[in-house]
Structure formats: C-alpha cells, structure tokens
Symmetry: C2
Subunit: 432 residues, 2 copies
C-alpha cells in the first residue's frame, strides 16, 4: 500500500503543549449486533474520547446482517456476480456507521460517519477479496482536526471507475489497521468477543491462558492457523507499518493482548501458543510424469481458481513418477477434484486420492528460532500419545502437523501442557 501523507492536517494534534493521541478502535459484528450493543460501543468510544484522545472507529455489519443479505442473493441465484455481492454486502457496514454516529450524537458527542469510499479507501479492482492500495486521509483528517469522532465503514473500499469492492474475511480488521497506518495513529484497538490472544483456544482447552503480549510474527502464524481473533492480512499490515495493536474485549474492561514488534519473552516460554483447525483434507496426486513442471502447473491452476493450498509435500524417487500431497480445507474439495480431473491430460498424472477428517495442530513461538529441539519434542509428545503425524510443515517460529481430526483436541491439550503454557506463570507486564 502506498500511503498518502495526511497533508497539512496533523492528525496527532498538539493541544496546549500536550500531545493528543490518535486511537483507532475496531468493533466487529458481534459487538454491534443489536441496538443495545451499539449503545455499549458508543460508551467505549466516549470513554476513549474522554481521555482526551482523538478517535477513529471502524465497524463491521451488525451481527447476522451479512448472512441475511447473502441468503437473499442465494434465493435469486446460485452464483451471484461478485460485483453485485459487494454492492449488496457493503450496505451492512453503512447501516452500522450511521446508527453508531446517531448513538454518539444522542449522548452529546460530535461524530461523522463515512463509507469506505468516502473515507478515501482505495482498493484493487477485485470483488469479494480486494486489497487496499491507497488511503486518501484528507477527509478523515479534516474531521479529526475539528476534534470530531470519525466513524468509518470497515470491509469496503472503492476501485478505479467508482466501483464498490469488499476486502473479504476479516476485512474490517484490515480497514482499521490500514487507517491507523495512514493516519499515523498511536494505537489500534481491535475490540472483539474474547479478552485477548490465548495460548490456545479457551473454548476447548481449560488451562488456556491469555497472553499479555505477542509479536507480529507469532500472531501472524496464529492468525493463519485459524486462531481467529485477528485476520492475518491485518497483522501483516500492522507489522509492515509498525502499527501497535491490542486485541481486547468489547464487553469487559480488562486489558487485552498487545501485538507489536519486540515482545519481551514471557518467562521460559519457547512456545507461545497452540493452534488447531479441523476439516482438513489431504489430497495426493499419484504418478506425476513431469516432476519438473508438474508442481508449478498444479498450484498455478489451483491458485487461479481461488483454492488455498496449505502444506505441500513432494516425494521423488529417481526413475519413478513423482507423488505429491497437499492439504486444503474441506469446503474446497469438490472444486479441487473437479479442476484437477478436468486438466488431467495437461497435468500428466495417473490418479488422485484424498483423505478427509484430518486436522492441523501447530505450535508457535519466536523462541523456537534458537531452540532447534522444539519440533522434535512436539513429535515425541504426539508419538508417546499414539497420535500419528501425516504431514508436517515448519517455519522459523512454527511447527504444524496434520493428524486425525478425532485426536485434535487431545493433541492440543497435551502440547499445551508439554510446553508449559498453562499454570501460574508470572504475567508479562506491559504499560498501555
């Protein structure tokens, strides 16, 4: 993204010698899911304003609005145009921004709402999953100069030719972070229905513990691994532009998890979290004659068809046709098989097999870089508990293993315990 300077408008206004901070707050669909919840969000915004800060608020569509709109479109067409879906879905946030502004006005606070296009958010000309290319902050900055609270519709932008686009899943997170970067905000608070980032999913593992801080890279791995609190694209954006994030609860007052570049290691924590994701499929292509170009042909084809491939393993035995395994999400199986079979001759393979009801379990932590034995320890722990590892993928700060889905939660609990993520660790202190 190219970020246009806010021009002469200073968004971090100096006020009687004291610096006024600029805070971007993002509230998701659940947080604005009802009139009562919108009142609650208005109060959180006012609290921040009362601290003397300038506030930009990014909101999603109310609760189930998007589902309702999608439902209506599906009644009319099994394959609605993506342009029209963006036109349709972008109304959801537009309703929320006006309602939140009306709520703030009623409580005596000056606020103005802006759709994505009004707030100068420009995107690629791609529907349903556009990336932000530029933000012209002049209109928002002018409102902040007047000390108004600015409410911006998340998830949406404008492509060349004046066409409305949406940013895809987690798009409102991205809007918030991109605006924070463009406006040089002091902080971007992501309000959600959990109190922060946990060592693992607290819904399934009792001892899950909230982390007070985590690095961008760790969060990126966790986000990509389906921890779900924060969209990976937003984390990447924050990392690239050095936006300090905090994930916190919209309902509770406690501080959340801060995400920034340099995070002090919590005591002895090599592994910072355990993530898991079910509904994984392993697809295996057997007898791939052209092992040289086969790999790129297959994955170009899948990418072109919007199929997200995760782990890839290729095994070549000299003189024999190669085999290739990769993992995808369950929802992409039908399309994947259809596309591969349609191109069987061009891709020159013998046959396809797949295995379903798999899960991916991962451990994440910056500390792994200097601790080479971590992956080995993970496999050891799994083996001791009779959990078979079917695929492996590693990065400098992550190890993922594909296992049977029915063993997923057991594996999560065992690893969470083995890497000492639960229990009474001294909490990491961080001044907010």
């Amino acid at each position: 993204m190219y970020i246009q300077a806010a021009g002469k408008a200073k968004t971090n206004v100096e006020k009687e010698g004291e610096k006024v901070a600029l805070i971007v707050q993002k509230f998701g669909g659940t947080s604005v899911g009802s009139i009562e919840n919108i009142q609650n969000v208005a109060n959180r915004v006012i609290e921040e304003k009362k601290h003397g800060n300038n506030v930009v608020v990014v909101v999603s569509a109310m609760g189930k609005t998007t589902d309702k709109l999608v439902g209506m479109a599906r009644e009319l067409s099994s394959n609605p145009s993506r342009r029209e879906m963006d036109m349709l879905l972008s109304t959801g946030e537009q309703v929320t921004i006006s309602l939140l502004t009306i709520a703030l006005n009623a409580k005596g606070y000056d606020a103005t709402s802006f759709t994505g296009w009004q707030a100068g958010i420009k995107t690629e000309p791609i529907h349903g999953n556009a990336r932000i290319t530029d933000i012209d902050t002049s209109i928002v900055a002018a409102e902040l100069e007047k000390e108004k609270i600015v409410i911006v519709a998340g998830f949406q932008g404008l492509a060349e030719g004046g066409v409305i686009t949406t940013l895809g899943r987690g798009g409102s997170d991205t809007t918030a972070v991109a605006l924070a970067a463009a406006l040089k905000a002091d902080k971007c608070d992501i309000y959600t229905d959990v109190t922060g980032v946990f060592t693992t999913d607290p819904r399934y593992v009792d001892n899950a513990r909230k982390l007070s801080a985590i690095s961008y890279d760790e969060m990126l791995e966790l986000a990509n691994l389906g921890a779900g609190v924060l969209h990976p694209r937003a984390v990447e954006f924050a990392k690239n532009y050095g936006v300090s994030l905090e994930v916190r609860s919209s309902m509770e007052k406690e501080s959340g998890t801060v995400i920034e570049e340099d995070v002090e290691m919590e005591q002895n924590l090599v592994v910072r979290g355990v993530a898991f994701e079910d509904e994984i499929i392993r697809v295996t292509i057997i007898g791939l004659s052209n092992s040289l170009t086969g790999l790129s042909s297959i994955f170009s084809l899948l990418a072109k068809n919007q199929i997200n491939v995760d782990i890839i393993i290729q095994s070549i035995t000299e003189g024999q046709p190669a085999s290739l395994s990769f993992s995808i999400k369950n929802e992409d199986l039908t399309d994947t098989i259809k596309i591969l079979e349609k191109n069987r001759e061009a891709l020159e393979y013998d046959r396809i097999e797949w295995e379903s009801e798999l899960a991916k379990i991962s451990i994440v932590g910056s500390g792994m870089i200097s601790n080479p034995g971590v992956a080995a320890e993970m496999f050891n722990v799994l083996a001791l508990n009779d959990i078979v590892v079917k695929m492996v993928s590693t990065s400098e700060i992550k190890v993922s293993a594909v296992i049977d889905q029915e063993k997923m939660l057991e594996a999560a609990k065992i690893l969470h315990e083995a890497f000492q993520l639960s229990g009474n660790l001294v909490s990491h202190k961080h001044s907010l």
Copy 2:
C-alpha cells in the same frame, strides 16, 4: 436542473437502421417488497428488453425496509442527524439494485447496478429532501451503449463534498423522471400497486374510473392534492423536460394512464378527477397589527422551519387589525404553534386559534379554464348536501374546499357523480 449532455454516447442507439427506444422503468417499494416480487420485476424488465428496447430501471427500497431502519435510529435518538439518516436510509435502495441485478443475471440478462452517486446524480447539499441539480449520465450511457440493462438506486444522490443525500418522499419517481430527461428517454413508466390514475380514489369511491390519459398540469394538481400515485416533484420535472410518463401496475398487464402535455379531452369531461385529503388543520392568527409585513414574516418563518402551508386566506377590514387563516397538515400542528408562539412579539399578533378534523376536497380538470361556472357548481352541490365550506382555494384547473373531515367521503362521492366522472364514458384511445 442543468442536464449535462450524454456526450458522444448515443443512448437511443440506431441499430441496423431501426431505432432502439430507451425506456426508463420505476418500481416502488411494494413492487420490490419480497424476493418473489423482485423476480416479478425482473420479468417485467426482461419483457421490455425483449421488445428490443434499451432499459434503465429505477428502484426503491424493499417494502418495509425504510421503516425498519427509521425504527432502529429512533431507538437510539429522538432526533437523529439528517445527514446520518440519509446515510442509513440510502442503504435500502442499494440492497434492491443488487438483488434485482442478481435476479436479471440469473435469468441470463446482462445488467449492472449503480447507486445514486455512481449514476452521477448530484443534488443540493440538503439532507432528507434534496433536489437534483445535475446528472452526469456518462457512466449509465456507457453501459447502455453495451446494451446492458442499467439498474439505478432511486431516492438518493450526492451533494458537494461527497456526502450522500436523499430526495424525500416520492424521491424514486423523481430519480426516474430526471434520468429519463437526462438520457432523453422515449418514455418513463412508473410501475406501482394501482393500475393508473383514477377519477377519484377507488378505495373509497366505487365508481372511480381509470383515466387513459391526463395532462401534466392536471396530474400536478392531483399529485399535490394527495392522490399519491406519483410525486408532484416528479410530475413537474416531467413537464419541464417533456418526459412522457405512464403510471401502470407492476402486477397486471393492462396499460395504465399516460401523462403528457396535450391530452385529448375525454368526452364532455370538464372535470377530470376528484381528490381528497384528511388530517387538515386550519390555523387562524387573530389581531395581526402589522398587516403589511405580517404575512411575509409569518410564512417566511414557517417555510424556514419546513412547515408546508397550503391554503392561505387573509381578511382585512380597514382600521382593524387583520386576521389570517391558513391550512397545514395535522403532523405539523405542534411545531407550527410552538414557532408562532415563540415569535409572538416580533410577529405582533394577538392570539392563535386552530380547528382540526378538517379535510380538503378538490376537483381538477383543464376544461375548467373555459368553464367559469365549475367552482360555483361545486359549491352548489356541496351546499345542497349540507356540507359547509370553510376555506377555498382555486387555480385555473382546480378548485379546493376545506370541509369537515367526517363529510369528506360523502363529498367525494357526490362530486364524482355530479361531474359525471363515473359511468360508461367512451374510453379515450391512446397509442402506446
């Protein structure tokens, strides 16, 4: 309105020597009130397209959508900002345009949707009741060149500074007519839940008969008098730009009522219609010392506060303070009294009185111009039936009388009969 020429784009495309007509169709909230109704509208659009015509469709928000949105805003504030209400309400039509486009696509027709601002509809910077100042037709014309069906959100536009505005009641009618004018369309069809313009309201008067044609001026009087099928502003627009209108049913196939400049007189019809409206209040200001400037001061003040005054009667007896009566709608009574009392000293009057539960009944017809006895006949008919006339207002083609509300329907039936509007008149023929 200044209408920007469509540039090099010819909207009435010459096609193999045969002229392709451009038809603007407008469908109101009831016509698009459900997924099923949207399917029905799509079929009506396709029918027109199949005739070889180019089609621009203007739609309102689905049925009760606007009420729902207003309800949510009211839960948050008793007096929501007009800017935010426009932001909120304009989502209603945006939902409809995308759904209708999806429906057309599913039926195999190429269509593209545009919000008001995307369609180049510019308005005054007034919220809730803006007037269209200009239409830049270039984007819509470019789509028509490609023979695409163009779907435009009614009721909304964009004011300077990129702010969303709405056009107020009947706004979608105005959008349709303004687009028809700007695109030099051959015809503008207003689809609604009635089959045309009637001699009087068929819900209350059994003998009400559908007119095959009516002039702009007559329609303007009828529209202003609350006949409700078509917004007066839209009719005025159509008259000024010579847009040929037809009011017709979205559910039935029969032809409707054509509205254009020169309409042949239907047999012996001096009066073309009887309109009536209840919930009228007569306000009387007694003892107005400054009869010279008092009138303009009072009505400037009321206009500034968006109060619509209809009939005005001033009686001056030399040497005495003047009295002044005017009629307003019931809903404006509280505001009117509040404003007048607040400015009592400046306006220099003695006291205010008002009478409620009144109604206005009107007869309309171009034939009146050459028939001076029509008003007298109306008063005579009312008097013979013991209906007291409390205020009168006349124009060249209309006579209105304010009477007791409880006599309204009786008066409508009597006048409808007296002016021979019911019965087996030879239907006026008009080629469509």
